[in-house]
């Protein structure tokens, strides 16, 4: 019943959007600079690192020396005695709950340490230097143990249980299993039987990290007077975070106020709450003073989240005409020592295996396995880049075996409008085929493929597509967002939104909607979105959802405020019925005009009412059932990329020359913002494909710097040719779909296919480093000589 009610409610909003889609738009679809752009480029933006409170202390964390050990003793006496040290805490000093998605993670470790990030003690001191010195004075005695760093080893009977609190044996039949997902549809055996070609491959993806330029940071201020805790935190999910902190610290959630300073990069890294955050709060609670913890770059590499490394065993089939028949996949995720949101990436991956292209049968199993490696987290794309890499490489192999064009096989199987996939995803609009056709044409794919260069530099071209949620994702009990609007006496509009700005540009979209609908100029619009004490609820930034969900919420609120304004204006203008036009701060109805600020003043002084409204939007998606069947998103985004590379056979280096990307974004809201998302996503995708890798030796990170970790720079960027596809999906604001994660999802897959086209060797593990390429070329040469 609950769903039905919401549904009919939503349908009202639907009508509203459909109406708007046909209108001539004033600002939507026109490039608009980001609201925070000037602050950012002039250096006046206040990041978490810039916060400096009176009497603030500096916190620092002592991490384990060994990735796997028993702790025999911890002696903090010398650190405590150091002048300037306000407090030192260990697990023994605090009364806290476990954290993490599976509540299997102690904030401070006491008996054992399980990965090289593990926090053993924390200090707060009057300066960073003193805090650092204090850390060096803490004596920890360890009994070093042999760790387990390979998830396949961890699955063996003989392996020790790696996380004491793990419930793997009870839940999944193996003590080191942290999480497990199974999904299937269709008749797998029948589809196998009718397959003309079946390809089986093992894919391996590396551990990469977000590389936010702003390192992790938090400032906590606890008041001993009223027990309230204020956190300046760089979370992307403030309301979930507030709850997580409250749970961790056994506090009342409403005593916790989360303020979000401008953040220097999110990309999914700030979805989980991490131990340093409650630790900082604990230091403030103990001292009664504000405490700040800032990571340096090395600590950021060591202790901030990563993408899940995965081993993917994929078998796929196609019939004689090239129609896909089935996909069978078994995935092992390296969960690391504790369980983060990252363990739930299979939830997204299964959508890709079940529904990217038409797939009659699918069998999917994904297990996240504890190891003594650091735990992964969420990262833009959420498992989808890994899944897409495996699927799209297998597609090229099947096409090759069948003798069908690699472009052709994709077109034959492309998703289509109206399709309800095996998993129940309903594609009410679908730009899959147009996107494919666009990149094939623009890149001159047909002329370039199979060029067969033989010189030093060899060119190749590759194709890949992707499917991702475009209208939020119903994974939490609500996927909604609240909006409050306030018009003041001077005609300024304040938008108080639950949604968060983490650099993606969504607050600018909300302001653009206000300009569009209410005719209020941009410089009279303020967006308030950083304070949990003020803003209404929202689930957070993830799943490419913000412009979609917050935009719809904004439109709902706009409708309410227009009703309010109309009523008052009709009274003032002495008319019975009117459909007002909103332009340049005024409302127009036939010959009559009235200024919005005047209406607001009259509402207040005449009718004793404030021009304030509130609206909550919940997307029309549904929960999936226990078998993961269901239409989980308000709409779906589709994209294809064609990428041309040049392989240098002298060095093995792969240079990305051009990227043609076409993406079904429903409707372009802010072109310049969208282009930014494309370029940023593609940059991350290229790094994932070619150069980025966190390298561990026995659980210890050995390249915790940009010197050793090869994040690419702007100098490595190829030209990005972007062709948006507009399908005007009814569910999205003005027909739009979520767009943020998509651009990086097919990039590695397209690059891998391009490299294979250039040198005739396929790669099944990422990154495709110069060394791997050179080895492959050497092997080819040897084989030719034999």
């Amino acid at each position: 019943m609950f769903h039905v009610n919401i549904f009919s409610y939503i349908c009202r909003v639907f009508k509203l959007t459909r109406f708007r889609m046909n209108k001539n738009l004033k600002i939507i679809g026109k490039s608009t600079p980001k609201l925070d752009g000037k602050e950012r480029v002039t250096g006046s933006a206040v990041y978490g690192h810039d916060i400096d409170l009176p009497n603030m202390l500096h916190g620092m964390i002592l991490r384990t020396k060994y990735p796997c050990a028993n702790i025999i003793s911890i002696d903090t006496s010398a650190a405590k005695a150091l002048e300037g040290v306000a407090c030192v805490i260990t697990a023994a000093d605090v009364d806290v709950n476990m954290i993490g998605y599976k509540r299997d993670h102690p904030i401070l470790k006491s008996n054992t340490v399980n990965c090289n990030r593990d926090e053993i003690a924390a200090v707060a001191a009057t300066s960073k230097e003193i805090a650092r010195k204090a850390l060096s004075l803490i004596k920890v005695e360890y009994e070093v143990k042999q760790g387990v760093y390979d998830p396949f080893d961890a699955l063996l009977e003989a392996s020790p249980k790696l996380n004491e609190r793990g419930k793997g044996l009870e839940q999944f039949g193996n003590k080191n299993m942290a999480e497990s997902f199974h999904y299937e549809h269709g008749d797998l055996e029948a589809q196998k039987a009718r397959s003309k070609v079946i390809v089986t491959k093992r894919y391996e993806t590396s551990r990469v990290t977000h590389c936010c330029l702003g390192t992790s940071n938090i400032t906590a201020s606890y008041s001993k007077l009223d027990g309230s805790l204020t956190l300046w935190a760089s979370t992307q999910v403030p309301f979930l975070y507030q709850r997580d902190i409250a749970h961790a610290l056994k506090m009342d959630a409403s005593k916790i106020r989360v303020l979000q300073p401008i953040i220097g990069g999110g990309f999914g890294s700030k979805l989980d709450m991490h131990p340093f955050e409650p630790i900082c709060a604990l230091l403030s609670i103990q001292t009664g003073k504000p405490v700040q913890i800032l990571y340096d770059r090395e600590e950021e590499f060591l202790a901030s989240p990563t993408r899940q490394p995965m081993v993917i065993d994929l078998t796929t089939g196609a019939d004689a005409e090239g129609r896909f028949t089935f996909r069978e996949v078994k995935i092992v995720l390296d969960n690391g020592a504790y369980t983060s949101w990252g363990a739930t990436t299979p939830f997204v991956m299964m959508q890709t295996y079940s529904s990217l292209y038409q797939v009659p049968a699918c069998w999917f199993q994904a297990d996240a396995v504890y190891t003594n490696n650091p735990f992964a987290g969420s990262f833009r794309g959420y498992g989808n880049p890994q899944a897409t890499f495996s699927i799209e490489t297998n597609i090229d192999l099947m096409a090759k075996e069948l003798g069908i064009g690699k472009d052709e096989i994709r077109l034959i199987n492309a998703n289509y409008k109206g399709e309800i996939t095996g998993q129940g995803l309903h594609f009410k609009t679908c730009g899959a085929q147009p996107a494919l056709e666009k990149v094939i044409a623009e890149s001159a794919y047909k002329e370039k493929i199979n060029r067969g260069d033989t010189g030093r530099y060899r060119r190749g071209i590759g194709l890949a597509s992707m499917l991702h949620v475009g209208g939020g994702a119903k994974i939490y009990r609500s996927d909604g967002c609240g909006t409050r609007l306030k018009l003041d006496h001077y005609g300024y509009l304040t938008i108080i939104t639950g949604s968060n700005e983490i650099g993606q540009g969504s607050e600018t979209i909300l302001a653009m909607i206000a300009v569009e609908e209410l005719g209020i100029p941009m410089d009279k619009i303020k967006v308030i979105n950083t304070d949990t004490d003020v803003k209404p609820w929202d689930v957070g930034v993830h799943a490419s959802r913000t412009s979609f969900v917050a935009g719809n919420s904004m439109l709902g609120a706009v409708k309410l405020i227009k009703e309010k304004l109309s009523k008052e204006a009709m009274k003032l203008l002495n008319i019975d019925a009117a459909d007002f036009d909103y332009k340049d701060g005024s409302m127009y109805s036939s010959e009559k005009e009235i200024k919005i600020d005047k209406v607001v003043r009259e509402m207040h002084f005449g009718s004793n009412e404030l021009c304030v409204v509130e609206y909550f939007y919940e997307p029309p998606s549904s929960f999936q059932d226990r078998k993961f069947m269901g239409d989980v998103s308000g709409n779906y985004a589709f994209a294809s990329q064609a990428i041309e590379v040049e392989v240098d056979t002298v060095t093995g280096n792969v240079k990305v020359m051009d990227v043609w990307v076409s993406q079904d974004v429903g409707r372009v809201l802010n072109p310049v913002g969208l282009q930014g998302q494309m370029e940023g996503g593609i940059a991350t995708g290229i790094g994932f494909a070619l150069t980025e890798e966190m390298i561990y030796a026995e659980g210890k990170l050995i390249n915790p710097s940009f010197h050793g970790y090869k994040l690419l720079t702007s100098m490595d960027m190829p030209a990005v040719h972007f062709f948006p596809i507009e399908t005007y999906d009814e569910a999205g604001p003005y027909g739009s779909k979520g767009a943020g994660e998509a651009p990086l999802i097919p990039t590695a897959a397209a690059i891998a296919n391009a490299v294979a086209d250039a040198i005739g060797v396929e790669f099944f593990s990422l990154p495709i480093s110069a060394e791997k390429v050179l080895k492959a070329l050497a092997t080819v040469k040897e084989n030719q000589l034999v």
Binding site: E129, R456, V650, T651, G652, N653, T691, I695, I702, N703, F706, H707, G708, K710, L712, T713, M715, D716, S769, A770, E771, L774, A778
Partner: protein
């Protein structure tokens, strides 16, 4: 990081400052792009930094050309090297090496002497200068000068022949003696910029009107504890035509170069990769 700083403005003041520091721990600071990293990695107590950045001394600061060749002051930055047309036309290897250093920002402050005195096996300008047979001009606290070929100046990773009472004042590059030059710097790395060489090859060949090689300098970087001048490979080329270095001759040449390489495996590349690419790259020089 906590240290005392002395900023001499004249050569006399510099020598006095050095003299006063002889019983103390001290380091020079020029562009600080290496020094700060060093001090972060190995914090030191009671350290004095003699800051060279404010020194106003012609020999330390200028680039001058005379009949014998080019003198480049210790404090000349990579960016200044790039703005010198004489370098671009006569010593392309140095120009390309300077252009390959880090990024525009770093190049504005990174000095030639800093690159040399850091004695990193992957120093780009250093590698080019070794190929150019450059010579160090060193002075001590008593204002006595000594000169030493750059290839000999390097004594190991982060080790040079510099004594505690000495400072590198300038670098001399001999004038080209032949009309034709084939000169360039090949830097292998993952990124286009902000990259430390996985390996590098600097070559500066001079040939007469008939394309016969009369002088050759070839240096390799990041494949041994110091930058190596590949003496026998250079000698091997003398007297040969620029166009004859192919097939067996090329193989021979490349194995002469490889003899100087004793690469290690590290996070960025394996020894196998370094050797293979070094061989491949040396074979492309005469393409």
């Amino acid at each position: 990081m906590d240290f005392d700083v002395i900023s001499p403005k004249t050569r006399t003041a510099l020598l006095e400052a050095m003299d006063a520091c002889q019983d103390k721990k001290y380091r020079f600071g020029a562009g600080y792009t290496d020094l700060i990293n060093d001090l972060n990695a190995n914090p030191q107590e009671d350290l004095t930094v003699i800051n060279l950045a404010q020194l106003q001394d012609e020999v330390f600061c200028n680039i001058t050309e005379d009949d014998s060749g080019l003198h480049i002051g210790a404090l000349v930055t990579a960016a200044q090297v790039l703005e010198t047309p004489y370098v671009q036309t006569h010593y392309p290897v140095l120009w390309e090496a300077a252009n390959s250093v880090a990024s525009m920002q770093i190049r504005q402050t990174a000095t030639l002497a800093g690159n040399i005195c850091q004695a990193s096996p992957s120093g780009d300008m250093s590698c080019a200068l070794v190929a150019l047979n450059a010579v160090c001009d060193i002075i001590n606290t008593r204002d006595e000068m000594r000169i030493e070929p750059l290839a000999d100046f390097f004594r190991g990773v982060k080790k040079t022949s510099l004594a505690k009472d000495e400072v590198l004042r300038s670098i001399f590059i001999p004038k080209n003696i032949q009309p034709k030059i084939k000169s360039g710097y090949v830097k292998i790395g993952t990124r286009v910029s902000m990259e430390i060489a996985i390996l590098s090859v600097a070559y500066h060949l001079q040939a007469d009107e008939k394309n016969i090689i009369a002088a050759a300098g070839i240096a390799i970087g990041a494949v041994a504890p110091t930058i190596k001048y590949t003496q026998t490979a250079c000698e091997f080329l003398i007297g040969r035509s620029l166009y004859e270095i192919k097939d067996v001759v090329l193989e021979n040449f490349s194995s002469q170069v490889l003899n100087y390489a004793t690469p290690i495996s590290d996070v960025r590349a394996s020894a196998w990769y370094r050797t293979t690419v070094l061989e491949n790259v040396t074979k492309t020089i005469f393409d």
